[in-house]
């Protein structure tokens, strides 16, 4: 909210420097977003009257306005739609200065000379209203400085008020906080209302939903419609509200001053006349002041006339039918208290927010309703020659009770870490309108009704903290005594996996887990979890695989001339829950995509990435975790080339996939070149048995090595032969690896030669030729028996 200092001073004589006030407001939690001093920067802007408006010969959206600025007449080009002859406006002639240090010069716009400009409120540094030229009081003296006319020699605090502090959304509320902080009196005069004995209209009020409307005050008055006086318009403009008419301006003025939303109905347009406060019927509709017809729900609260016809969406917006206008002579002023959640629900459902609804849903002062209504009548008497009725109908069956809260000084100090005395605690609270009695462990505080946030002891502790200031609180560092800090095994594993992939040369990517359904379908066969309220289709499902983000990253880089990438990501993937109503099956995975070329030139030749690069990554992860017995088994998977892909299997469970990506899936994702990938389920790997890390004594005897080559069918996997060799070679086998794959026409189609190097070593002696020969024979027989593999000469 925007709070002009001149208005605050109506209620407390704060005269501290502006920075001291800003500091106080910030400490108190009324955060100052901006401080505006419009008068400082507006120089030479004068009051002028528009004499005539004619079309610009060369531009449709511009017009030419002839203005009289007291000392003479001139012509300006203006783009605002709202100008008309007779209007009194701010005129910035050439040489005048506007906020931002902008000085006007005489210039030609589309062939027409403009001797300065007419100003909107925003151009004068008054809020954001840029919709049209600011209309000034028609009685203002032409040629006068607008600073005086608009009261610009003021300081305006733009405050961000947190939702728990509805009381601070008004001038009196801000004044109360500043008065408390600076130790000044707060004076809010009782309104003086001269009721006209000749006006006695009393409108009956029937509240059919008392839970939703605990208080409804209806008060009629005879009024003379017209513009509000300049002083009131100035204040509204500085507070960021447009002046409309004297009656509407008064309701806005009281809203800003006292935080009480008011509504003025044209009494003669209300049937009955009477007021019925009721819930909407199913299928009922109302057209609100903004001209929008809105379908209603039986939980919406309506203000209706004596014929039960809807006249306002309670607490949110009035209806068009009973709006006041120039022809209005009698009004019904509504001042009410509506229940917070009800307003919040309707406002949210209709996506209709207003200054009123924002206040009702945060909670206004139920006890302040009558005073605010009286303040409005007092002002209306002055600005609209109002004659208020002698009869005020105030339906308030169960007056609000003030919260009584027990407060312990020990609790205040225990939470804040302070050493405050009873007197300091009480002195902190009393200026906020909190009645405080007692001492020590039995302070009784009675909260004012304008502070719905004060219900519990801790709420008062916070008030004390705000008042004494956080600077009064010390700095200590607690040390946990029951534990030492550290990572869990899983957290260590996660770091180990990432470090292993980094060691392999991959760069870690972090992608947004919200993706397009078709992207998900490209790399996953499972139905993804859907977003219920997506902003766009590209972010409408949760990723069931990390591959989508990595492939998208490869595409992003390729589009920037960086087609060689080696990326991995470690993060959550989501699947629909196994049990209805449960949270999704959220798993942690690690995946990688390598695309383009592996650059080794000039020392080695460059080459395209191949599926074995992805197998290297699997190997790095598996070894980082020390997972025992991982198998790669040929299999197809969504998005992978079926001829070059495999499952990663641990203990019979598929925990991942590895291979070359399918060119069609890549092309659809915007990647041209070859790309390979892997994905591993870390939750699955985490459960797998780990290798035995028990130390084995290192033999000091020499090893003995043999090479064996077998001719086998293509269907026989190298890894299967290795397992057979390991099993057959006996305890003396130290290591076995495949070192050659070879095909030839002699071997015939569908067959290949696989060569293995076996290293033997005994812990306690040098091996004899006979030892190795026995093992060799056993290996040859085993491979022949298991795979039909013949020893190659």
């Amino acid at each position: 909210m925007r709070a002009p200092l001149s208005w605050i001073r109506d209620f407390t004589p704060v005269d501290a420097p502006v920075d001291a006030i800003v500091h106080a407001l910030n400490q108190l939690g009324l955060e100052v977003d901006a401080v505006e001093e419009p008068g400082r920067e507006v120089l030479g802007v004068r009051v002028a009257r528009i004499l005539d408006v004619v079309a610009h010969p060369n531009a449709d959206k511009l017009r030419l306005a002839d203005v009289d600025f007291g000392g003479g007449q001139t012509r300006v080009v203006c783009g605002a739609p709202n100008i008309e002859p007779g209007m009194v406006v701010p005129f910035a002639p050439s040489g005048a200065t506007l906020p931002g240090g902008f000085t006007l010069e005489r210039r030609t716009i589309r062939g027409e000379v403009s001797d300065g400009m007419l100003c909107s409120a925003k151009e004068l540094g008054l809020g954001d209203d840029h919709a049209g030229i600011l209309a000034l009081d028609p009685g203002a003296e032409l040629g006068d400085d607008v600073r005086a006319v608009l009261g610009l020699d003021d300081v305006i605090f733009d405050l961000a008020i947190t939702p728990n502090r509805p009381d601070a959304m008004c001038i009196v509320g801000v004044a109360r906080e500043l008065a408390a902080h600076f130790g000044l009196p707060l004076t809010v005069p009782e309104p003086e209302v001269d009721r006209d004995p000749a006006v006695t209209t009393a409108v009956p009020v029937a509240i059919e939903a008392p839970d939703r409307c605990p208080r409804y005050l209806a008060w009629t008055a005879e009024v003379a419609m017209g513009p509000a006086p300049a002083w009131m318009q100035q204040r509204l403009v500085k507070a960021g509200v447009r002046a409309i008419s004297n009656v509407v301006d008064v309701t806005n003025y009281v809203l800003l001053e006292h935080n009480q939303p008011l509504h003025a109905f044209d009494l003669d347009r209300l049937a009955g006349p009477g007021i019925v406060v009721r819930l909407a019927a199913d299928g009922e509709r109302i057209t609100t002041l903004d001209g929008v017809e809105r379908p209603l729900d039986p939980s919406d609260l309506l203000i209706c006339d004596g014929d039960r016809a809807p006249q306002a969406l309670a607490g949110i917006m009035g209806g068009g039918d009973s709006e006041v206008d120039d022809a209005t002579t009698r009004i019904l002023l509504e001042a009410a208290y509506f229940e917070r959640m009800g307003i919040a629900r309707t406002s949210k459902r209709l996506k209709l927010r207003s200054e009123s609804s924002a206040r009702f849903e945060r909670g206004i002062d139920p006890d302040g309703v009558a005073r605010a209504a009286a303040r409005a009548m007092e002002l209306l008497a002055g600005v609209a020659t109002a004659r208020p009725s002698t009869a005020t109908v105030d339906a308030y069956p169960r007056p609000a009770e003030r919260a009584r809260i027990r407060l312990r000084t020990s609790k205040v100090n225990g939470v804040l870490g302070t050493d405050l005395t009873d007197a300091e605690v009480i002195d902190a609270l009393a200026p906020l309108g909190i009645d405080v009695q007692g001492s020590g462990e039995a302070i009784e505080a009675v909260a004012p009704t304008f502070r719905p946030d004060l219900e519990r002891e801790i709420d008062l502790v916070e008030e004390v903290a705000r008042r004494v200031g956080f600077d009064a609180i010390g700095r200590t560092v607690p040390k946990p005594e029951h534990q030492v800090g550290g990572l869990s095994h899983r957290q260590h594993d996660r770091r180990a996996v990432a470090d292993a992939l980094v060691g392999l040369g991959l760069a870690e990517a972090v992608a947004i887990p919200l993706i397009a359904p078709e992207a998900a379908a490209r790399f996953s066969a499972v139905a993804p979890v859907q977003v219920a309220n997506p902003l766009r289709a590209e972010e409408s499902v949760l990723r069931p695989t990390l591959l989508t983000g990595l492939v998208a990253a490869a595409a992003h880089n390729a589009a920037r001339g960086q087609s060689d990438v080696a990326l991995f990501e470690l993060g959550r993937i989501f699947r629909r829950p196994v049990v209805e109503g449960a949270l999704p099956d959220e798993r942690e995975a690690v995946a990688g995509v390598l695309a383009g070329m592996v650059r080794r030139a000039p020392i080695e030749p460059d080459r395209a990435v191949d599926a074995y690069d992805a197998v290297d990554a699997i190997d790095a992860v598996v070894r980082a975790l020390g997972v025992a017995d991982v198998r790669i088994e040929s299999a197809s998977a969504p998005g992978f080339d079926p001829g070059a892909s495999a499952h990663v299997v641990v203990g019979g469970e598929v925990v991942g996939v590895v291979g070359a990506l399918d060119p069609a899936a890549l092309a659809a994702a915007g990647v041209a070149g070859p790309a390979v990938a892997f994905e591993l389920d870390l939750d699955g790997l985490d459960a797998a048995p780990r290798v035995d890390r028990q130390f084995r004594v290192l033999s000091s005897y020499p090893p003995s090595t043999i090479d064996l080559a077998f001719v086998v069918d293509d269907s026989v996997h190298a890894a299967a032969v290795v397992r057979t060799l390991r099993a057959a070679a006996g305890d003396l086998l130290e290591d076995v690896r495949c070192f050659d794959e070879f095909r030839s026409s002699q071997l015939g189609p569908g067959r290949r030669s696989l060569a293995f190097a076996l290293r033997f070593r005994a812990p306690d002696r040098t091996l004899t030729d006979a030892d190795v020969a026995d093992a060799r024979t056993a290996c040859i027989h085993a491979v022949e028996a298991a795979h039909g593999g013949a020893l190659r000469g």
Binding site: Q27, R362, I458, F470, V477, A498, I512, A532, P534, E604
Partner: protein
Amino acid sequence: MNLDDALALLDGARAEAEAAVAAAADVDALDVVERKWLGKNSPATAVNEAIKTFSADDRPRAGQAVGAYRSAVGEAAGARREALTAAAAATRGPGIDLTLGGHARPRGHLHLVTQIRRELEDIFIGLGYRVAEGPEVEDDWHNFEALNIPPAHPARSMQDTIYVDLGAAEQMMLRTHTSPVQIRTMESQEPPIYVVAPGRTYRNETLDARHSPAFHQMECLAVDRGLTMADLFGTIEAFARRLFDDESVRTRFRSDFFPYTEPSAELAVSCVFCGGDGCRVCSHTGWIELGGCGMVDPQVLAGVGIDPEEWQGFAFGFGLERIAMIRYGINEIRTFFDNDVRFLEQY
């Protein structure tokens, strides 16, 4: 052969050998010359063989002559070998060019967010904290209700929530903050509790320069007997000083509102780039806003079965991308999620 024959033979051989050594064009030729004039079939060997037949008087002279021959020819050959080696070295090429740059094995990189996350985790581990985690898709209880944010509470509209299409309407959502991990930790663990919860959080925004539907936060929760707001402020200050590696960093707290803490405060640290004088990083205020903090609301404690009269807690949280942006001058949040290799490889 008698002594005279031997001396004559050695004299002649020595002249011939020295000429051959001088004539050797390279080390290989010199090897041949050496074998011939100093090897098994050389004149020196023949004389040595013959010495046994000489008289006792003649033998020493003959032996001396053989020694003189060997050392003269050997020295000449050694000098020649040195000269030839030096000449060969002078004419050999420049060796291999080690500036070609190696096999070009690429260096990998952790994402900047991971680096910051680990750094922060390690700071808190040093303070004795454990690292807590929770699901990214949350239920209404953990994300809102248990944190004092009932349905229709104004604080809900502060958070643009992404709901998922599971169960009843608006009952499951992508967590809007890491605070539900506080609830899960307190539900599963008796106090005292000292944890930090890093993780991904979500807002219903489209990715652009200043908004992202997903980003990362870290939250700290401590629940113990007698914890105070001074403990909260002191912990934040200790953390901030480690984070910026500067013991002169000051902290500033201003009253704020969060539904799950009371009292609540916005937390800022003095700008390490200008020392508080004001610069572009701190928008000329001298302070950098990092996040929010407060004492855990007693109702939140009670809601998870912790007696707020016995235990008190504090919590604070901040964004990981924000810390990286401040530290490295990164100006657009989308930079973190485009995964451009030029960005990834810079860190």
